[in-house]
């Protein structure tokens, strides 16, 4: 049971922060199919910064790990800027842009990882080796049964994610900027008429979504393989999309959806272990979260309501 919670959380939370990025972007009215590419590019950028910095002056200081998270956010944001440019400046179809960004991310990171490894480190490789991420157990709470598992052997990034998520929640629902951002997703003309700059708001929403996706991607890179490699493109970005659509573009329900994914996943492993099924059944186990989602969606979808102007290219002169 404990391992379900510990593993589940360490998977759910990065997924959640990526989905939260999606909520920001789509909440402002811009479709974001690019999450997969953004998380990958973020992880690439984080991995690159880690490799460069540890090779030069910082050595093996643990602060580097946290610094690389920051760089991953920066990288994700940077690449999201391209999505923003495409969708806002060039008025490209947002679905197309997302698909293209994903493809571009895969080929760009592979290309640059190879080139940089070859030219900077003198050893061609498509990977950047990372450190393991520190884990902590909170002294007293962890003794409590079940609940304790939520505070046992946690990656410190889980706390970072929770803090970032709380901050982003506050930003979206409590501040003027957040209110306008949500209004942009509903009726951008209303925002323009009250003096807001729709394109600017949307652009920053996209940037924020990139940063969050980058953060999540980097956490996956640390927790799953302790390196950046093309295997970061495992489809978690798409899973995050499913999560926030499942969560009806709202932060709370999306969080629950991510928890569900994570726990269903880790529960699957425990179940096969308990049932002693042979390893070839692991394929079937892996379908568990997806089947569960499909079934739940049947019941919850009728209330599904995407932001009204989602996918509409904002054109001031269009009425």
């Amino acid at each position: 049971m404990n391992s379900i919670i510990i593993d589940g959380l360490s998977f759910s939370l990065p997924l959640f922060i990526i989905a939260l990025g999606g909520i920001y972007c789509e909440g402002s009215g811009v479709i974001n199919l690019a999450l997969e590419g953004l998380l990958g590019f973020g992880a690439f950028f984080g991995g690159l910064s880690f490799a460069l910095l540890s090779a030069t002056f910082l050595g093996n200081s643990p602060s580097l790990i946290y610094l690389s998270l920051f760089f991953a956010m920066f990288g994700g944001a940077l690449f999201a800027g391209l999505h923003g440019l495409m969708c806002i400046k060039f008025k490209a179809n947002q679905v197309i842009s997302g698909v293209v960004i994903n493809m571009l991310s895969v080929s760009l990171t592979a290309f640059f990882a190879n080139q940089i490894n070859a030219s900077v480190f003198g050893h061609a490789s498509n990977k950047f080796q990372l450190e393991i991420f520190p884990r902590v157990t909170i002294p007293f709470i962890s003794k409590i049964p079940v609940l304790g598992a939520f505070s046992t052997n946690m990656y410190t990034f889980e706390f970072i994610i929770v803090i970032v998520a709380l901050f982003m929640w506050y930003l979206l629902y409590k501040t003027p900027a957040g209110m306008r951002l949500r209004a942009c997703g509903d009726n951008p003309h209303a925002v323009a008429a009250s003096g807001g700059n729709v394109n600017k708001i949307r652009f920053w929403a996209i940037i924020a979504s990139g940063a969050m996706a980058g953060l999540g991607g980097m956490c996956f890179a640390y927790s799953i393989s302790t390196n950046f490699s093309p295997s970061i493109y495992m489809g978690f970005g798409y899973l995050a999309i499913a999560a926030y659509i499942f969560g009806n573009w709202k932060i709370g329900p999306t969080f629950l959806a991510c928890i569900l994914f994570g726990f269903a996943r880790s529960a699957g492993y425990v179940i096969v272990q308990k049932l002693q099924l042979p390893s070839s059944y692991s394929d079937l186990v892996l379908t568990l979260p997806y089947i569960l989602t499909l079934v739940l969606l049947i019941f919850f979808s009728s209330a599904n309501k995407p932001p009204l102007s989602l996918g509409e290219i904002y054109d001031q002169s269009k009425r």
């Binding site: 506050y170 409590k174 501040t175 003027p176 209110m179 306008r180 949500r182 209004a183 509903d186 009726n187 003309h189 209303a190 925002v191 323009a192 008429a193 009250s194 003096g195 807001g196 700059n197 009204l308 001031q316 002169s317 009425r319």
Partner: protein, 512 residues
């Protein structure tokens, strides 16, 4: 009086059209200045430039004697200019207060650190203003649950909240009841008396006559004149506007009820949220009869129309068309059975804006001979024939014939296209919902003539309108809805405009 706003040689082009051509105008402080003109004359465009939605291609705008470059609504706000837009600009899933304060949110800090929007104060202030101006709203209501007239109020409150001095109203009365219009006009006068300057765009000449001081007439992007309202008759105004005189009367043949075409019995419609929208409504419409349903927006009229057309399922009751029960037939069956329907929302229901005019004109017949052959292949020559015929018969103005993309056409012409399509269906029953909303007098007149002609041909007509004048002018029988129920149903000749207005407000409750 001193000049507050001055337009100097303003020109604004849109691809393929000059919306404003060298317009020079002065607006004095403290007056109600009306702007009049046909659909597409350039009124909204001119005012949008004053409000910073567009920049003029040429010319200058001076405010309080100073040359200003109004590049965004924010600049306009700072110049104390406010605008009520023709098409509401409201965020559906936020509350009234949130909509009103957008852009100038009052902010407090938690722990002296985290800024947050102070909704409490805002709610209070909105409430105060709404009470002060008699525009009652509940600040915490969410827009998507509100009827159109309340939304209109929110738009006005938005401007008042900003403390604007120059108030632009772009067709504010199009969706209001006579009583509401009356009170709005009153409010506008009040505002003027409090020293505000008002620019009013409307197609309703009597409103202009009633409250405004001066009036500018635009025609095809050009200013044709600025008139003192007190000394000009409405006929003169409209003549100037359209280039010829318009008669306000129609020649109606005497009402002789023919056989029953539509019979609605005990109709009940329940919304997705389990709210009863239409409750126990029964009526019938006969050949050669115009039955008008009057009522304040959101009292179930539109749902009746949707239920008859098959767009909304019935919870209870039955609908008979020509003696045949159609309660559970699908939309197409009903169309084929003889129902034509001009819906309220032409943009999202009546038309597919990104298709060509031709395709829209064939929208209800594309699948039949002669537009589609037996094997499912469309017959383009025949579609074109229909398209060009309707375009000329109904004088639909469009830039590139039947290939014009409908989105690029003006609202009036879009409406004409729908009416043309529905009339040519040659149906037994025609349902018109708000057929003249937002149209200029010329266009309205033409449509009224059409409806009257259809009546003479022996069609049964169900007219749903918020415009009481329209109801009074056309109806043989008037049905007034209030809260989803029938308030009264009577011969038109037995009712006065005032009475209908009172029924609409739910004043008399008729005993049965």
């Amino acid at each position: 009086m001193d000049t507050l706003v001055e337009f100097k040689h303003i020109t604004k082009r849109f691809p393929g059209i000059i919306a404003n051509n060298d317009i020079s105008l002065k607006i004095e402080k403290g007056e109600i200045f009306a702007i009049l003109g046909e659909n597409g004359a350039g009124k909204s465009t001119l005012m949008s430039m004053l409000f910073g939605m567009y920049l003029p291609d040429a010319g200058e705008i001076h405010v309080r004697g100073k040359l200003e470059r109004i590049s965004s609504p924010l600049v306009a706000n700072n110049l104390n200019i406010g605008m009520v837009h023709q098409h509401f600009k409201l965020v559906e899933n936020q509350t009234i207060t949130e909509n009103i304060i957008m852009g100038i949110e009052p902010v407090k800090r938690k722990l002296g650190l985290f800024p947050y929007v102070d909704l409490e104060t805002a709610n209070r202030k909105v409430k105060e203003i709404s009470e002060a101006y008699h525009l009652e709203v509940n600040p915490t209501d969410v827009i998507q649950d509100l009827p159109v007239s309340t939304r209109q109020r929110v738009e006005i409150l938005k401007m008042l909240y900003r403390n604007a001095e120059i108030l632009i109203f772009d067709e504010p009365t199009a969706v209001l009841t006579p009583q509401e219009i009356e009170s709005l006009l009153h409010i506008i006068q009040n505002l003027r008396d409090n020293g505000k300057t008002i620019i009013l765009i409307t197609h309703k000449l009597d409103e202009i006559k009633k409250i405004s001081d001066r009036c500018a007439v635009l025609c095809k992007g050009q200013l044709v004149g600025v008139l003192p309202v007190a000394t000009t008759s409405t006929n003169e105004m409209s003549a100037l506007m359209v280039g010829h005189e318009i008669s306000d009367t129609i020649v109606k043949t005497e009402y002789r009820a023919g056989e029953e075409v539509l019979k609605v019995e005990n109709l009940q419609v329940i919304s997705n949220q389990n709210v009863t929208l239409v409750d126990n409504v029964s009526f019938s419409v006969h050949r050669g009869e115009i039955l008008a349903i009057a009522g304040v927006a959101g009292n179930g009229q539109v749902e009746i129309a949707d239920a008859i057309a098959g767009l909304t399922p019935l919870a209870q009751g039955s609908i008979m068309l020509g003696g045949h029960d159609i309660s559970h037939e699908n939309v197409r069956k009903r169309i084929e059975g003889g129902i034509a329907y001009i819906p309220e929302d032409r943009h999202s229901v009546g038309l597919i804006l990104d298709l060509s005019l031709r395709e829209n004109l064939c929208l209800k017949q594309y699948y039949q001979q002669p537009y589609c052959k037996q094997n499912g292949i469309l017959d383009f020559p025949n579609m074109e024939k229909l398209g060009s015929q309707l375009i000329s018969d109904f004088d639909i103005r469009c830039s590139s014939g039947d290939d014009t993309i409908v989105r690029s056409m003006s609202g009036g012409n879009q409406q004409k296209a729908i009416i043309a399509r529905e009339i040519q269906l040659n149906a037994k029953l025609l349902i018109f919902v708000q057929p003249t909303r937002g149209l200029d007098v010329g266009a309205i007149e033409a449509i009224h003539q059409r409806i009257n002609a259809l009546r003479s041909e022996g069609k049964a007509i169900l007219l749903i309108s918020l415009e009481l004048d329209e109801v009074m002018k056309l109806a043989d029988t008037i049905l007034v809805m209030y809260n989803g129920r029938i308030q009264t149903i009577r011969k038109a000749s037995e009712l006065t405009k005032l009475q209908v207005g009172e029924y609409m407000m739910g004043v008399h409750v008729e005993k049965k």
